[in-house]
Amino acid sequence: MMALRRKHGSTGAGRRAFGVALPTTLLLIATMASASPLAVQRRTLNNGARLLVSEQHALPMVVVQIMVDAGARRDPSGKEGLAGLTADLLTEGTKKRTAVQISETADFIGAAFDTGADVDFASLSLTMLTKDLDTGFDLLSDALLHPSFPEAEVTRRREATLASLQAEEDEPGRVANRRFLKLLFGDEPYGHPVVGSTESVRKLTRADILKFYQENYGPENAIISIAGDVSADDMAKRMESILAEWKGVSRGDFVYPPEHAHESEAATIAKPLTQANIVLGERGIARDNPDYYAVTVMNFILGGGGFTSRLTNSVRVEGGLAYSVGSVYSVNKAPGSFQVIMQTKNASAAEAIQRTCSELDRIRQSQVSDEELDGAKLYLTGSFPMRLDTNMKLAGFAAQVEFFHLGDDYADSYASRINAVSKEDIQRAAQKYLHPDNLDLVVVGNLDTAKVSAGPPCAKPAPTP
């Protein structure tokens, strides 16, 4: 709903930038609950790919989402950005279609056809009218199975990516995030944004892309999720047919390397901005962590719960320091980041950080109130239907449940898991996963005005001698 805050014409403006619907796709799972209208029919194709179909006949439309185990975590060292570039190029030429023919075909049926990589997976996503299924599926299977990665298109896309990386320097939030990931994860797979860096992208070649595609775009770990005006049997038949020749070697599960040795650090980046863009945080949790539910409720109360969160209340409502403030767990296969993100006028940077540190301390040192706990549970469980109320969301949800092995009963059991979280669980999770004395900090802004105090952001001031 972010787009909502802008209305047609000039700068539409709105009230909230940091809603409960956090911008990380994976986080959606964090706020899903019971009473499932999912009705997902699941089967495995002959080539090993898993097919999930949710029949929804209200509108003559179909959403297809294909997830392949070809995310940025598989970028070879020094070739950061390769997964992203490979995914981008799937729609830029196949054995029988040029890039222009692909976009002409998709545009002529008014379909949205996008490909891209996330940290853990790459995806192809197609949204179209039911009447255009044949055309759409032909396009989709062509891009997935027969990309030709023409040299000219590789050059074009690499240039475009380099230009995006340059333009990104004007987006302080991205600059801060990039720096933060590097501080926290170093050279680990999660240590770079999917897009890679100027240095690494410049060196990527067609041979790299072809090799990455051949090694990672196999059917065995692939998930095909379809929601819309279709029948599951028909989808199975069609997928067996159009993906029959899809074979591939299985690379096995990705093994995330051991965490690198790391002391908390602080970094500053000087830019002539009116605001200090602040990220502070640490390593978070993996999706399969049993504490996932306690952490979800804890973070909702701390800074994930939009207007009712403690961080919003302290930094925004009481302090008037920021339009947007919140905390986010990037929940991936391996432990991702925990980040508190905010922007405040340069002069207020230290105060905003100090308020954040107080809230991190507080949720560790004392139990949350009954009202807070109830509020979090009521929202997390009660908002469930809205996480599945469009074909787009249904397809994405089903795919992620499968990807993270959450189980067929996931949607039905979510509420009971959330409701089982106690105040003690929350405090224990806060003490276990929040380490205010060991946080990384990045500040991008006018450093002459944003006087950020030295050392770890939440360090206690040394006692005066």
């Binding site: 209200a58 222009v100 009218l129 230009a163 500053t268 922007q343 009660g382």
Partner: protein, 452 residues
């Protein structure tokens, strides 16, 4: 921001869905509050939206940004509801709520399980008449809105450029200034200003309700009647008299500031949905910038490799005539001037009737498909109804696709020749000042104890 405005596809009567006119219930209360109600049972939820017919269009210089500031303050409570409690109540009911302000309107909405819709109806009826906040609430929220402006506009070269484009294109009409307001106005706004704005514009006769979802329309209307019905109609707000005179010559503006890449945007004054040419402009926008195979993308981004991105923006559902804008950002080493020339050349081709029947059909297909796809979300359906109502009448929705289907290549040529001409053009260019050497990114790792 101008270029990131909603891309809501327009309605389409064809295939599955019946017309909106046959599905929507309209009901007007004696106090003037109009209800636009659509039962839609595809998901067990409902969206309830209150639209006020006030936005930056109704403001004046020196007090720009008041509509949006008031939108924030509407969450500060009433006699019955404590500050921020609105959000808490909606959340405890499993709902999402928010609000947004535009040039022409201010909208409050909540989307939640349909059996909880009465909760939001009670809250909205209460704050339409009983808003209350003192300095303790006003002062921090006032600062929050200034932070919002810094975040969205002041620290974003592109947003700043689109702000400049509007203020270049309009000389007499309030569309000249940004919804969020000029910082100098915003910083001087007072609690009394905001309350006066509320008293002037927040009345049943200056508002309407859109509700879409899994409820009984009869029940919903009865509930709104019992809650909003007793509110006094309120005085008629003052009319907005400004009218933009015809432009008689090109206007140009340059934004010089530190930035990575240049950017250029061209805007033309054009009619909106009140004119038959509106539908032609919708199709023209799709021909020029609808998808990767559209003319601007194909030529500037793909074939000539001059641009990082290129696009169009047209405001079809505005109260007063808006702009038709085309924009592009050059790749490193290419210039804004080159792109401006190329965009001009593309417009020239349309003027010379170079659009093929197939391109026309592709544009129409994209618009029609987009409509069905947008119905995936109850919220967007309600939003669309609200936008049409703000612009005149929600019933016009059903006229849209027939008008699109009727557009011919001759129409495209005629409309491009009439409106997309140099004397009617405003051009804003971002001309970057390169960052001082060594300062662009200085991400050196500060040793602990030495953070700046």
């Amino acid at each position: 921001m101008f270029i990131a405005a909603l891309t809501i596809a327009r309605p389409h009567p064809g295939s599955a869905a019946a017309t909106y006119n046959s599905r929507v219930r309209e009901h007007v209360l004696p106090n003037g509050l109009k209800l636009i109600v659509l039962e839609d049972h595809k998901a067990p939820e409902a969206t309830f939206q209150v639209w006020y017919r006030v936005g930056s269009r109704n403001e004046e210089l020196g007090k720009t940004g008041l509509s949006h500031l008031l939108e924030h303050l509407m969450f500060k409570g009433t006699d019955k509801i404590a500050p921020e409690e609105y959000s808490k109540i909606i959340q405890r009911n499993g709902g999402n709520e928010n609000a947004f302000t535009g040039d022409d309107s201010t909208t409050y909405f909540a989307t939640l399980a349909s059996d909880r819709v009465n909760v939001v109806i009670d809250l909205e009826a209460d704050r339409m008449q009983n808003l209350k906040f003192d300095d303790a609430q006003f002062t921090p929220e006032h600062k929050v809105v200034m932070e919002e402006r810094r975040l969205r506009t002041d620290d974003s070269p592109m947003s700043a450029l689109f702000e400049l484009l509007s203020s270049t294109a309009y000389v007499a009409h309030p569309y000249a200034w940004p919804v969020i307001g000029w910082m100098s106005d915003l910083s001087q706004a007072t609690r009394e200003d905001a309350l006066a704005h509320y008293k002037l514009y927040y009345h049943p006769s200056n508002a309407f309700v859109v509700a879409v979802g899994d409820f009984s329309a009869d029940d919903l209307i009865a509930k709104v009647e019992s809650t909003f019905g007793p509110i006094a109609a309120g005085p008629q707000p003052p009319p907005m008299r400004a009218k933009e005179p015809e432009q008689q010559g090109e206007r140009r503006s340059v934004l010089r500031r530190e930035a990575q890449l240049p950017f250029v945007a061209l805007a033309y004054h054009v009619p909106n949905l009140r004119s038959p040419d509106g539908a032609v402009l919708e199709v023209l926008s799709a021909v020029l910038a609808g998808g990767k195979s559209s003319r601007l993308h194909k030529k500037l981004v793909y074939e000539k490799r001059l641009a990082r991105e290129a696009g169009a923006q047209y405001e079809y559902t505005s109260v007063d005539p808006g702009m038709f804008a085309l924009y592009a950002q050059p790749l490193p080493g290419k210039s804004a001037a080159q792109l401006e020339k190329e965009i001009e050349a593309e417009i020239d081709l349309v003027r010379k009737a170079e659009v093929s029947e197939r391109e026309l059909q592709k544009a129409k297909n994209g618009i029609e498909a987009g409509f069905v796809l947008s119905q995936d979300s109850l919220f967007y359906e309600a939003l669309l109804l609200g936008q049409y109502e703000v612009a005149g009448d929600w019933k016009r929705i059903d006229d849209y696709l027939p008008a699109i289907r009727a557009v011919t290549t001759d129409d495209l040529q005629r409309v491009a020749s009439q409106y997309l001409v140099p004397t009617n053009r405003s051009v804003a260019t971002l001309d970057p000042i390169p960052p001082p050497p060594g300062k662009m990114t200085r991400p050196e790792r500060a040793p602990q104890g030495m953070v700046h």
